[in-house]
């Protein structure tokens, strides 16, 4: 078949030059004022990035480094001098000379109200981050009234497959799952936002069960969900039984045992059993995204 003589592979190839990468475009730097401090940032930097690099902790809910900002939760709003309304730090880019206040009265009021509006309408019991923000901003959702006074998104949990549950009573409509299911990661488009206004919700077409939808069970939606609305069935079951105890859990980073992509798995174990698998956003290969085998294909370890 091959008439060419194969090269002599017995001798190792000599060392070549180091790889060369395309030069990064040199971003111009601009100066802005953050809470009265002059800060120099690269052009194109968002106010959120600028604040973070200046050590200012800005709360976020719908923002995630790996997803396109949708700026819908409005908890990251900051005050920009000359702007009538507050602006979302997650997506607004810094402009030269911009004067930004990240912790003014107006900003604090908006953040507190956003948290109160959410917590008065959504079950945030499995959203530790929201609870932490609520403490920080002194949010009192009960001001809008107890059940019966304030409309909520309470509804039964959707359990339509063996792998994960959807508890939309805990959904703050941050759009992250839709983005992860769509062009930002999986390109499966099994879910989208349907309805409108307070009735807006995450849904498959005509609310069909997941097994009838386009879902491929990558679970990347679970990976980005900030409230526990999307949850491993194993975790959901353990929580219901009162067995879920994060103080007894260990997280270990390892590599997925399946294909050759090499996704990092963070294995969560409790009492020498795997209870769930996540993947860190920082992993350089798929940035926190997994497929069905990596996220759910570990059951055999518990069965051994």
């Amino acid at each position: 078949m091959s008439v060419q003589k194969a090269p002599d592979l017995k001798n190792p190839l000599p060392r070549g030059p180091l790889p060369v990468f395309p030069p990064e475009r040199m971003a111009k730097t601009i100066e802005i004022t953050l809470d009265g401090r002059k800060v120099t940032v690269a052009e194109g930097t968002t106010l959120l990035e600028a604040a973070r690099s200046a050590g200012i902790d800005t709360p976020t809910l719908c923002f995630l480094e790996t997803l396109t900002p949708v700026n819908v939760c409005r908890i990251c709003v900051v005050e920009v001098e000359g702007s009538r309304a507050l602006v979302p730090a997650c997506s607004r880019k810094a402009e030269a000379g911009m004067a930004v206040r990240t912790d003014s009265e107006r900003v604090r009021l908006s953040r507190r109200l956003v948290l109160e509006l959410l917590a008065s309408s959504v079950d945030v019991s499995t959203a530790p981050q929201i609870q932490e923000y609520m403490r920080r901003y002194g949010a009192k959702p009960e001001r809008f009234g107890a059940a019966g006074h304030a409309e909520t998104v309470a509804q039964p949990v959707k359990i339509d497959n063996e792998l994960y549950v959807r508890d939309y009573a805990k959904c703050i409509l941050c759009y992250k799952c839709v983005e992860a299911c769509g062009v930002d990661a999986q390109n499966t488009f099994a879910i989208a936002v349907a309805g409108r206004g307070f009735g807006a919700r995450i849904s498959t077409e005509y609310n069909v069960p997941l097994p009838d939808s386009a879902c491929v069970y990558c679970g990347n939606c679970i990976g980005v969900c900030p409230t526990g609305a999307l949850m491993f069935r194993s975790e959901h079951g353990m929580r219901k039984a009162g067995d879920w105890d994060e103080t007894r859990q260990t997280r270990t980073d390892t590599i997925c045992p399946y294909c050759g992509v090499g996704c990092t798995l963070t294995v969560h174990t409790q009492d020498e059993k795997i209870v769930k698998v996540t993947s860190p956003l920082e992993q350089p290969i798929t940035r926190g995204n997994l497929c069905i085998k990596g996220r759910f294909g570990w059951e055999w370890i518990n069965q051994k």
């Binding site: 078949m1 190792p12 030059p17 792998l163 590599i255 997925c256 350089p284 085998k293 759910f296 294909g297």
Partner: protein, 493 residues
Amino acid sequence: MVDPRRTSSAQWAERWLGLNVGSDIALANAVAREILAAGLQNREFIENATSGFEEFRAHVQKYTLEHAEKTCGVPAETIRELAHGYARAGRAQICWTLGITEHRNGVDNVLALINLALLTGHVGRYGSGLNPLRGQNNVQGGGDMGALPDRLPGFQHVENDELRGKFERAWGVKIPAQRGWHLSGMFDAMERGQLKALYVIGENPAHSESDQHRTQKLLEGLDILVVQDTLMTRTAEMAEVVFPAAAGWCESDGTVTNSERRVQRVRKALAPPAGVRDDIEILCALARAMGKDLGQPSAEELWNELRALSPMHAGMSYARLANAQGLQWPCYDETHPGEQYLHGRLWERPVIGPLAPFSCVEDVPPADALDEEYPVRLTTGRRLDSYNTGVQSSRYASPGRREETLDISAEDGKAWGVVEGERVRVLSRRGAVEAPVRFDAGLRAGLAFLTFHFPEQVATNELTVDAVDPKSGTSEFKATAVRIEKISGAAKG
């Protein structure tokens, strides 16, 4: 996208080239000829970095677009578009999986693709290159560590006296100076009675090898079969001795290497069940039982021994691997960043080291030819939620998992008078299986598809051919001639 099946990836592609199974070289050579005919080759690169170009140019002259259209079943115009698109691209990569390698001429298939990269200079530069996508999390690492018939760790050739000598001095033993057998070579050796004892670690050949009847017969004929695995596989069931082993990815420490040569740390998250031991522990205990005390080295100590002997791994300390989320070899010292792409030496002038040779490879049809008796081309592959012989993946409840089906086109179904869900018999020259039929819009008439994820249900590898690539030892899993029979009625197809 080049694939006999219109897969999900093909649905996303701008163009899909649904070529006939096993016609890859006809396609690649035609692409090469078209690039040359249009004058789109990278003359500077060819002149300075390659050898054998003139022979190659002459060789591909007969691979016209028309010839390729006939052989591959892909319109000539689409092939022309592919050739021009690839040659004109600023950066281009060729990625492939087992559809290229699981053929009796799998190595030639790869050489044909290499030719295209050499012709256009799409190699050795950022964003370009040739990427075999690996099917297992450590198939690359196995090769890195010397699990090849002719290599020591770090791809150092066992027949190179100097390199072998380095290992002999470090280990204080004599290493056989000749290459061994690859997998299919071992089965041939069993057949000849030369190989009588087999120690299998983490593999299930009784289900995964082609021509399963022959495989299992040969395994049964061994004097002793030892299997070391995490679960009781079919192969383990046949063994005289079984060592229950810890799961490499979560019950022990170590490294794996992914498709992009990234060496990554795996870590112990769980203690293995009682009676189950780490691979290293088993091997050392075995050595001790055989009279050699290797001590009780940790995974890191063994890794550091490798670093001392394999230059491409020398710079990869455990600390660096953890901090950098893995490093890509070669990584020669602790200041070396690892290399995101290889072969940059071909762009140095003069080229560092040997020139890259063009290979004149011919199109050879699959060994298992279609004829009147076996007119249907069966190809095998994977489904998203399952993995190889299903040892691990069959144990979680995937909502998308169906029972194994024989996938065919609706057109064939109609012609053969079978409906979806109907069980049919699939016969090859080696065996027969039964499976329910499913119509797949991604398949065209004459093409059928099975996986080997459910060997207990459908023993697909009873059908496949043991035609082996003499260079790689890989069987032609991708091309089997079969016929489909209705179970109740007369033979059809």
